[in-house]
């Protein structure tokens, strides 16, 4: 069993240092992006506090080659691969960052990561507690992008993140999860199955080594990697002070394209995306919108799903559901009796055109 490890000693030692300092970075996590720009010794000086001289001593005593060997052993045990910023196979997009991660740890293989990054990745980020609408929009976009062959990037967090990964995988597409802790550490723990699916057909990457438990500063640090990896970052739902805005801010500073999915004016969850829209982000309501934002208007067409030819009452029913009507009134609008109407809705569900949303409501499956 061998894993591909393309890391130099200096970078391995930097990775070791981040782990060594991880307890010191939490109190200063507001400034973590600037701090990570510092070189090794300045970083120790800046965050080491009272213990900085001890840590500096440990650092000087550490032989780079030794650090590399240790990392290699850990990677082998966790079946991860890794690449450092001195290597040609390091994702070029990350070099745009003021402080590119020294080592990128990869679950799922360097080869696969390279293949996925052939196409421009799109990040879908948003609230951890989204509404049904947000989940639906995320699924539609992720599935559509996956079908168009674009990798979907997100952070495997609860809510929008996980929905994006799942929808991409369900559509047999590619997905990249950027994890806060080690790439082999499932966080949140509830997403164990999702993590397994990502390992099987996508990749999970992380700045931190195998087995490192997530700390608060790592989430901010992780957001900058998402922003850098993706050519387009789309914010789906978020409140006034959403963490997704941090990702969007990074993307803006890196000159990446930004998009946002509009939400209901009345919903607090629309605050973050609407702020971005006001500041000039592209409005993303369809997969085509995302493709237009990436390639220019009308350059690449979203692959069309085989449009089912529906009989007139079914088409009317679908339209009523798309407008948010309940079963009863949708059936009436389509001119169907209740029993025939409910049967027709079940048929639309079997055809994958509608789903049962929260509270059992029928919602349109957007394509």
């Amino acid at each position: 069993m061998s894993v591909d490890v393309r890391v130099c000693g200096e970078c391995a030692r930097r990775a070791w240092l981040l782990e060594r300092l991880s307890g010191h970075l939490d109190p200063v996590r507001e400034r973590v992006a600037e701090l990570l720009e510092l070189d090794d010794r300045a970083l120790i000086q800046a965050v080491g506090g009272a213990r900085h001289s001890i840590i500096a001593g440990e650092f000087e005593a550490r032989d780079p080659e030794e650090a590399l060997e240790e990392l290699r052993a850990r990677l082998l045990r966790a079946e991860l691969e890794a690449v450092c910023r001195c290597e040609a196979r390091y994702p070029a997009a990350l070099r745009d960052l003021p402080a590119p991660p020294a080592v990128l740890h990869v679950l799922g293989g360097l080869d696969r990561l390279g293949a996925l990054l052939e196409e421009p990745p799109v990040a879908l980020v948003g609230a951890r507690r989204p509404s049904g609408y947000g989940l639906e929009a995320t699924r539609m976009l992720a599935a559509g992008l996956a079908r168009a062959g674009l990798p979907v990037v997100s952070g495997m967090a609860l809510g929008i993140d996980a929905a994006a990964h799942r929808a991409a995988l369900d559509a047999a597409g590619a997905t990249i999860a950027v994890l806060p802790g080690g790439a082999d550490v499932v966080y949140p723990g509830r997403h164990r199955r999702l993590h397994t699916r990502i390992r099987e057909s996508g990749v999970a990457v992380s700045e931190l080594g195998p087995g490192v438990a997530p700390r608060r500063w790592m989430f901010t640090a992780r957001n900058r990697i998402i922003a850098a990896l993706a050519d387009l970052t789309v914010l789906v739902q978020g409140r006034e002070r959403s963490g997704a805005l941090v990702t969007a801010g990074c993307a803006a500073r890196l000159g990446r394209r930004l998009g946002a999915v509009p939400g209901p004016a009345t919903a607090p969850l629309s605050a973050a995306p609407h702020r971005l829209l006001r500041d000039g982000a592209s409005l993303i309501a369809t997969v085509q919108d995302a493709l237009d934002a990436l390639y220019g208007i009308g350059v690449v067409a979203a692959p069309r799903r085989r449009a089912a030819r529906l009989e007139p009452p079914l088409a009317a029913l679908l339209e009523a559901i798309a407008e948010g009507e309940t079963e009863g009134s949708a059936c009436a609008r389509a001119g169907l009796g209740l029993e025939a109407g409910l049967a027709a809705l079940a048929r639309l569900e079997l055809d994958g055109l509608v789903r049962r949303g929260p509270g059992g409501r029928y919602v349109m499956v957007a394509s």
């Binding site: 507690r129 989204p130 509404s131 049904g132 989940l135 609860l158 809510g159 996980a162 929905a163 799942r166 509830r190 209901p264 009345t266 919903a267 607090p268 969850l269 309940t326 079963e327 009863g328 009134s329 209740l338 029993e339 025939a340 409910l342 049967a343 027709a344 809705l345 079940a346 048929r347 569900e349 079997l350 994958g352 789903r355 049962r356 949303g357 929260p358 509270g359 059992g360 409501r361 919602v363």
Partner: protein, 506 residues
Amino acid sequence: MLAQVTTFAIDGVQPRQVWLEVDIRAGLPGFTIVGLGDTAVRESRDRIRAAILNSRFRFPDRRITANLAPASLRKAGPGFDAGLALGVLAASGQLPAAGLVGCAVFGELSLAGELRDSPGALAVAEGARRAGCARLIVPRQRAREAALVEGLEVVAVSTLRDAADVLAGAPAPPLPPPEPGWGRRDPVPDLGDVRGHEVPLLALQIAAAGGHNLLMEGPPGTGKTMLARRIPSILPPLSREEAVEVTRIHSVAGLHARGLIETRPFRAPHHSISAAGLAGGASPPRPGEATLAHHGVLFLDELSEFARPALEALRQPLEDGQVTIVRGQRSLSFPTRFMLVAATNPCPCGYAGEGERCTCGEADLRRHQRRLSGPLLDRLDLLVDVRRPADAELRGAPHVTSAQARERVAQARERQVARLRETGARCNGELDARAVRGCAALSGEAETELGRAYTEGLLSARGRLRVIRVARTIADLAGSERVRRADVLLALSLRQRVAREALVGA
């Protein structure tokens, strides 16, 4: 001399025949009762002695032995007093023993020699009829209740002296006039009062027609309880036999003394109820809510709030139509054929699907889901979402009245009875896996749709079974011998959703 009197003990809610044997012979004066009686039975010696003397009879100054047979049955309560007293009179030659042949006696005695009101007369009367007795002597207050059983002469007496006179050949006194309130029926709410709720009303009718257990999901205050209360009004009327059974159960439980119960019971226990309260238990075992809902509706509001053990205890009643309680060396069965109707909020705050009003996080939703899952859900064939009706609906006309719905339900039930004769089930809801396949008669198209739903992951294997059962009922409501495609589709729209991926974003 020996005398024998027939009476009945109430075992759970069933009458059990008991033979009272009284033997009087020379010896030191004394009165012993044997035959596994409780304290009330032992104390009856003193009541009997006083009652006999106060009724101007002689109390024999000899050795009296009374036996309550069968000796293995534990006998409780004072209902044996009258029988034992008449046995003493017969054995001491103050009463012709021939009068006691084919006659059952039931009642508690007062020291003055009066027969007191004792609950359970209906159960005793049923037992007497089944045992082939021609007449039954009961306390006057309970005569009307006992007379609900046909084919039995009920003799209403108010004193021990009257009872002895009747047994000696005097004409039986007439039945007392009914007490005020006798036969009064509680009004049953009607579906005609319901505005909006079109889909739930349809589900209610399907559930009633097939005897399916129903789960209603919806935000608080949308009318789940209001709808459930109306289910008895569309179920077929109780048959005479069922009505007597229901009345007997409620009379034994001391809940009813107003004549025959002719409407189906509706029981809605609070969610703090214990397992014993729900399924029956305690010592001596008493019928639980499941038994009180026999032939009617058991409504569990806030299903997720019920304690796990209480819900687990409902499994056997749901599967077998009866619950068996074992206490020491004996076991007792209570009948529990009820329709289960459950209601729950879609999420802990109750407002899932109401836009931004729902404040539950994923963790809350998962916890809610976990509390709901379990074996009980397997028995709930139908799931319907109850929503707040729109303003226009509230001002509109009602969709259906109970009378109309009852008519449809009755017709659908008739079709089922004819089809299910060989399976032992009375309605589609009672069909087990094997029987479903035998009687469903799915058309080819219906089979295809079902297969699609299964492969698409919309249905589990058990869910598939539930959908077939419901589709069969829908076809029965429509008067179709075969289950058509539309029937399966309609059943699918009312299915339990396996994983609530929509709620948890899974």
